[in-house]
Symmetry: C2
């Protein structure tokens, strides 16, 4: 079974990010200062982020933001990523649908996260900062930022949820390989962490606590900034290199997509993948866009669309988004990257406008989908990405029932080589 790969040359790789806010027919509601209730001003974000990224966060005018030359060189290490015709999966499903996937698992750390990690490290370095702090759950984002930091000569300090730090050593080792430092959170190094540990010395930690650690360390040092791997507008914009490449690849292969599918946690791989197609969906109404999320954390399908905090510690500005509430603690599913109570404000708005349809999936279904994909396409997907695979299989089966010849394109945001424990008890295919 030949798997046609649609590749782009280095010359063909897009040299700009796509800023969807310059084109949308509606304005995204601003972040609010939780104290005053007033829209956040750029100078308030400058406590945590460098001027270049603050400017990107507020930019609603420029449709395309040029990618700096030095950053393009780093993208060349693993980009452009291939678009693959999933003929093995098609044959297995015996569907009339055509299935393609964009393979972001080819990056140095195995997922799309590197696309924004490199950009954030670059702009921090350019703006004169020498150190970044961040939080990480299972370690995907922490390892991506460590890789990027080393590339541009920045120190990277990662606060990793203690239970993952103790039980999932792989990503911790990877952070070390890439010259990063990683500490279990809650941390003895911060006031916030020490306060928590005083009450509960064996505290398992949470993403909210890890944000507290990382933000405290960034705020109290002039040369240090904080870095976030999803949710914010500039983060999603850096990911649009995925969708911009995809557009060119589909043109090259003369393929018109009917359905676009990606998984949503904070929304960064989803936004990067679909944003360049959203205006087509709005104007021509002939592209369906599906956001796959876990049934255990159904933010877009069952959350409220309202202003809420981005973290459990209430340190962040308030954002207008679908949210299960900042205090919501999702059950411990394998797709750790999708265990987020909220979602990107832009993605949330697209759902609220009916432009994006959420699809929620039980864990059993996504694990089986991962097994099918591994055996038919030869790539083990990350549990997060397996949500997109599972939605794709649902659509392809629907096509089999109706006889429709739809073209489905999904984003394989990362591989699952470091998450194999998820797949231990699926049983035989």
């Amino acid at each position: 079974m030949k798997r046609e790969k649609i590749t782009l040359s280095f010359e063909e790789m897009p040299k700009s990010w796509y800023n969807i806010k310059a084109e949308l027919p509606f304005k995204i509601d601003p972040m609010l200062n939780p104290g005053t209730g007033e829209p956040i001003k750029p100078e308030e974000l400058a406590m945590l982020f460098p001027p270049s990224l603050v400017e990107q966060e507020f930019n609603c005018e420029d449709r395309l933001i040029p990618i700096p030359e030095e950053l393009i060189k780093e993208y060349y290490v693993y980009r452009p990523s291939p678009l693959v015709h999933a003929t093995g999966l098609e044959e297995y499903l015996d569907t009339p649908a055509k299935i393609y996937f964009k393979n972001e698992s080819v990056s140095p750390t195995g997922s799309h996260k590197v696309n924004t990690a490199l950009a954030q490290a670059y702009f921090n370095k350019q703006d004169g900062f020498s150190k970044l702090t961040t939080e990480t759950g299972a370690g995907q984002w922490g390892s991506a930022l460590s890789y990027a930091g080393t590339k541009f000569g920045l120190d990277v300090e990662v606060y990793m949820v203690r239970v993952s730090y103790d039980t999932k050593p792989g990503r911790r080792h990877m952070i070390h390989l890439y010259n990063g430092r990683v500490y279990p959170s809650p941390s003895e190094r911060t006031e916030g962490g020490r306060a928590i540990l005083k009450d509960d010395p064996d505290c398992n930690g949470s993403l909210g606590m890890a944000i507290t650690d990382a933000v405290e360390m960034a705020v109290k040092s002039d040369d240090t900034n904080y870095s976030l791997g999803s949710v914010l507008d500039h983060v999603l914009m850096h990911q649009t290199i995925i969708g911009e490449e995809l557009k060119l690849q589909l043109e090259k292969a003369n393929v018109k997509p009917d359905v676009l599918i990606a998984c949503v946690g904070g929304g960064s791989n989803f936004g990067g993948f679909v944003f360049p197609f959203v205006m087509d969906a709005i104007n021509n109404k002939d592209i369906e866009i599906i956001a796959s999320e876990p049934q255990a954390c159904p933010t877009l399908l069952e959350g409220k669309y309202e202003y809420d905090f981005g973290d459990t510690g209430k340190l962040t500005p308030k954002m207008k988004m679908y949210t299960l509430g900042y205090g919501f603690v999702p059950p411990p599913i394998h797709a750790g990257g999708l265990r987020y109570h909220g979602a990107s404000p832009i993605v949330s708005r697209l759902v609220n406008e009916g432009i994006v349809r959420p699809d929620d999936l039980p864990q059993t279904e996504i694990l089986k989908a991962a097994q099918i994909f591994s055996l038919t396409e030869g790539i083990i997907p990350a549990p997060e990405s397996s949500h997109a695979v599972a939605s794709t299989i649902r659509e392809a089966k629907r096509c089999k029932e109706t006889g429709e010849v739809k073209t489905i394109v999904f984003n394989l945001s990362g591989h699952g080589f470091m998450d194999l424990s998820a797949y231990d008890h699926i049983g035989k295919l």
Copy 2:
């Protein structure tokens, strides 16, 4: 930094394996029956292997062995694999040398092992067998054979060295994902295993004991065969798809290799990579071929060239090879795949004839090489493959000293996503 990738289309992929024994100017010494001291006959091997593979093992006449159509389709899942110009590494080393690597890490299980696993599963199925047993150390081979078995409808039973089974769960999970069964060895399921456990209930196991388990299960069941991941001639022949592709890619890019480098444990990735170039090396003497091995297990450099058993349990025929002695227990280095007391008889002979030069490397050097490669080329190499990276760096540094513009091509036999503990304490680059 653009990393030129030289790819082949499906049509360009070689459709035959290369059988080096048909061309070598000398005959490889035969395997011997340890009881009689006589050369092994094909029917003696038929206890463990299917007729097609026994025929391949003894074939010294046909230069090219056609790859069956059904198998070619399975190779298409991940092959042809890319040849990459490692411009990032060249720049980092500031060397006049040109460095290329063949990337076998793109396979479904992350290494070259799948090339022969698929072939062995296919021929066993064709010849009417329904089950395969094998042993595995850290799990690389066991996962490859499980993947291949499922592809062709065979049951696969893997005996995994108990200490790896207990402490390195990733590959065990992968075997389950691919429908394989995996048991810790020594095993309660076999007479051999029970005998060992009676004396030592907490026995950690060894590759030799795992072979005992796997062979016993294969011998006592008519529908079951045994499968080996390296050393034997037919196994190395299946890997020549690597070198055959490489030849075409070098021609396409108009690149003439001066130095070929691969790591050697049993010799399968090495043989597959270099065999198609050996006659050039013999006739024109203008290609240098280097076999990278660990200083902790220096089979080719310090072993004796003599007849020895392939396993510690003395179950296998005797083979003429470089060996540290069948009772040699290498220290527990990270590159588990290179901890073998012997080496392929063909590879051994090439070393003995002076056609292949062994290069032995201390673990500190290979770990640092892996870190350099991860950060310059964006792929984390397996600890085994890091030996080839380290030899490449040695050669490239030599070129810097002498000013020579050599072209070095090495085989990246697998990635290191599942071996990251090896890289935890390297320190900053």
